[in-house]
Symmetry: C2
Subunit: 596 residues, 2 copies
Amino acid sequence: MSYVAPLKDMLFNLKYLADIEQIAQLPGFEDAGFETAQAVLEEAAKFNEGVLAPLNWEGDKNPSSWKDGVVTATPGFKQAFRQFADGGWQGLQHPVDFGGQGLPKTIGAACGEMQNSANMSFALCPLLTDGAIEALLTAGSNELKATYLENLVSGKWTGTMNLTEPQAGSDLAAVRSRAEPLADGSYKVFGTKVFITWGEHDMAENIVHLVLARVTGAPEGVKGISLFVVPKFLVNKDGSLGARNDVQCVSIEHKMGIKASPTAVLQFGDHGGALGYLVGQENRGLEYMFIMMNAARFGVGVQGIAIAERSYQQAVTFAKDRVQSRPVDALAPANATIIYHPDVKRMLMTMRAYTEGCRAMATVAAAAYDAAHHHADAEVRKQNQAFYEFMVPLIKGYSTEMSLEVTSLGVQVHGGMGYIEETGAAQYYRDAKILTIYEGTTAIQANDLVGRKTARDGGQTAKALAAQIEATEGLLVKSGSADALAVAKRLKAARVAFVDVVNFVATNTKTRPSDVFAGSVPYLMLAGNLMAGWQLARALLMAQDEIAQGVDVSFMQAKIITARFYADHLLTKAPGMRDAIVDGCESVTALALDAF
Amino acid sequence: MSYVAPLKDMLFNLKYLADIEQIAQLPGFEDAGFETAQAVLEEAAKFNEGVLAPLNWEGDKNPSSWKDGVVTATPGFKQAFRQFADGGWQGLQHPVDFGGQGLPKTIGAACGEMQNSANMSFALCPLLTDGAIEALLTAGSNELKATYLENLVSGKWTGTMNLTEPQAGSDLAAVRSRAEPLADGSYKVFGTKVFITWGEHDMAENIVHLVLARVTGAPEGVKGISLFVVPKFLVNKDGSLGARNDVQCVSIEHKMGIKASPTAVLQFGDHGGALGYLVGQENRGLEYMFIMMNAARFGVGVQGIAIAERSYQQAVTFAKDRVQSRPVDALAPANATIIYHPDVKRMLMTMRAYTEGCRAMATVAAAAYDAAHHHADAEVRKQNQAFYEFMVPLIKGYSTEMSLEVTSLGVQVHGGMGYIEETGAAQYYRDAKILTIYEGTTAIQANDLVGRKTARDGGQTAKALAAQIEATEGLLVKSGSADALAVAKRLKAARVAFVDVVNFVATNTKTRPSDVFAGSVPYLMLAGNLMAGWQLARALLMAQDEIAQGVDVSFMQAKIITARFYADHLLTKAPGMRDAIVDGCESVTALALDAF
């Protein structure tokens, strides 16, 4: 159950698909070229392979535990978190001003993937801290920034996101936690928050909760929600820790997976009120929270890729070791390992193609994020922002949904051994299932894709992407190789299907919302499938060029085969999905409720 | 987490799709008409809802436990098993001569589904006992039958299937357990068997192990395997229990699911040899075992349907209860339960359509089994047997693969609550994953479909089915309703895709085995999808007729909508699968092994 970071594939993506040397031209990223990326990724690989990966199974066996309000992390996690913090990994993408390294998201995403492949339960803690840092950077006062950021960026403290309440899950309008203003400008916060990831633990000196609550007298619904910092320990003027705040962890959940990651029920204000500090302005909390959430959604998409990679690696190792049955191919040895069986190859190729496709998609989106935030030209920033925003629900939704299929295949490759917990394949299957749920279910991502990302601009962003894909098809046809032509054919069919659906969505969201939203998740899956397949098609073209130059031939050949497999076996799903979405919308909602 | 047997749907299938009144015309089934079926199913519902279903979650919390070779079942299981036996449920389909009720498989399959919906871990025990009974009926001597059958049929004793060894999973040619003949005609059996379901427990007085082993001097490979009865306790001449046999349970597995069902490692002959009795002739063990396995494979397919149904019921209950967000449809109430959201409906309809489609498919196959075994006309028997045998890998493979998707959706409908073990949805997700593995993985089913069921007869059976499907398309077109026409369109496209693949398989299995087996599982999925969709199309036609007569209108309307949904959303996958199988075969096996 060891883990080896897929450095070669990551560096290929950085160099060829994300054009990291272009990112190094952006103001602020002058040192972030390919060589820096390579050095950072190699260090990250060392740490994640050596420190975090060996603790993954331990976390499943010995989950975080709760006793009398105190949560103790899995043995070894506290020490590993110190090493993580001391290595500067928490600050990788954060501003140099607060002690971070200020590296681009393009590099950060690769490191994030490694952390999550190595140990998803562990990596959730820094993921949430990233969100808290993002929120404070965006909307925090200078005082809040000065008080909290440096310790969060250094990993001395950790952060959480407190959104969900028992009656308010996907529906944040239903948030009931409340905040009473005090004379000194601070607030007393009251309420119950559930599903708070790493909401209580012993890995850091302090925990900085970012909490959604309503100020007394605020309007109903989403327009009356404010965002507060509520630290576990109050912070004195000199930065030292003061009294324990009135926030208690009353229990943690018994979950199917990510067991090392404590999922807390937090009670705010049971003993007079938890002291909280407003982030930004009153009633704009949801807006700020969305900034955190968009960062976190990208991060959860990367978790999907990460767990798929880990599951793939374990399946490959098993398939190369386990001897069973004579393969159908007479060329194979009589007592062959099961990787010689065509169906085992089909499963492994499916896992590989999904993982590489989604990794390529996420890497390109991360590069767009960097350009959107650092490019000198406002128009370029705007275009990149639109692309990035379109991609976020796809990365979150598609990469996590595919991770369910991949981790299921990961168990399947192992046969009966896969069902035995000690083998480790089952852990990935159980762990992955949270990914399509938290930080917005796949349906919530699909709502975002339909509403804000497609209907709002009449499908313009989507169609601009389709035009770019069509250009890639042209290049594939021009290249003329059998693989390129086969990929072009499937890419075109998928792109045409996508445009049909985009038109359907753009035309009907207002007038026939039920019909459009009946196909929202299939639309997301079709779009994600297309975007991942497109990036692999781009990769195929570049790999062909490199082979012509004699560069890294066997790696480049593998990339071409994977792109071809993706097109043959995954892009071929797209036309049928179009039919289901456009022609099949009515049968989704036809059944009377009492007939269920 | 209660369970309500879907009696209405089961009885619809029995009456309209399986034509139970025709089965009651078969010799030996004179009493097995619709009214008998209804009475039996209602009794079964009472028992499974009231006794087995409430123990399901208990079994997950308190799995069977092992201590010093003794396995203790989950609290309550032993008592429930007594009730099960006393109710005569073990003997439902078995011959009256040995104390059974001799009912058709058509009825037995419905009862089996209920048992498995109620409590899959529990139901595995009778499922394996059925297999042992089947093997003894087929090949056991009169003495073996006299000694064992009555107590197995009555549920006084239970049975097991001992195939797998550490080095012999899918590959039974690798079995190493051995049997030394003794002077009195019995044998001493030695070896280690793993993954033995209910291989040791305290629910019954004796356990009758059916064990594959090689007689001293037998040929290598599958032609040297014999089948033995090895009882846990030896049986005296008078039928009373004698000494403990030399078979020990040395451990049970720590599994992801079906935790109440002990999965035993059994050690035979560590203390001088376990006494065993040959079933049938030496070296024909695999042949007999296949008879048990074919029965068990059908049974496992039914388990897929069963767990999908349970998962669906729980998701519907939650979706009708949980209030969250305003639906997009302005007609829905402002504070609506989530079942008003189109995507929740899409998930529930997907679950429902898969479940009803596979149930219909299994019911029709069970009816063919009954005709194949009881019809007076040899030609009719032969046709039914060919149909049944073609369907078994589809029922096992497709119904279990779909159960993974259904139970995943079942968790998804619950959002974050689905990931909390106490909710119960996660248990179905974990339990279901064994179904695509045991009794032959999906790939093993697909090998059977490709080799024995398609290539061997040049695709004749498959094409005869396609012709029947085409006839159904004709009836749909003739009926002329919008639903029938929409279903006809999708059914036709799926059938054409199926025939293309059948031709590809029939033509190339010998000459290009790797290319064909690269698509074997997708072929199975395409075929299963088509067969389930076809049965729902037939159901639609009959439901339309009944509505015209004013019979049970709301149920019949729901059936039509479900059939339409299946065609719109699931049958639409078929053409893309054809493209992947036929045009995409080469990219499956193109990657060099060291590139993985």
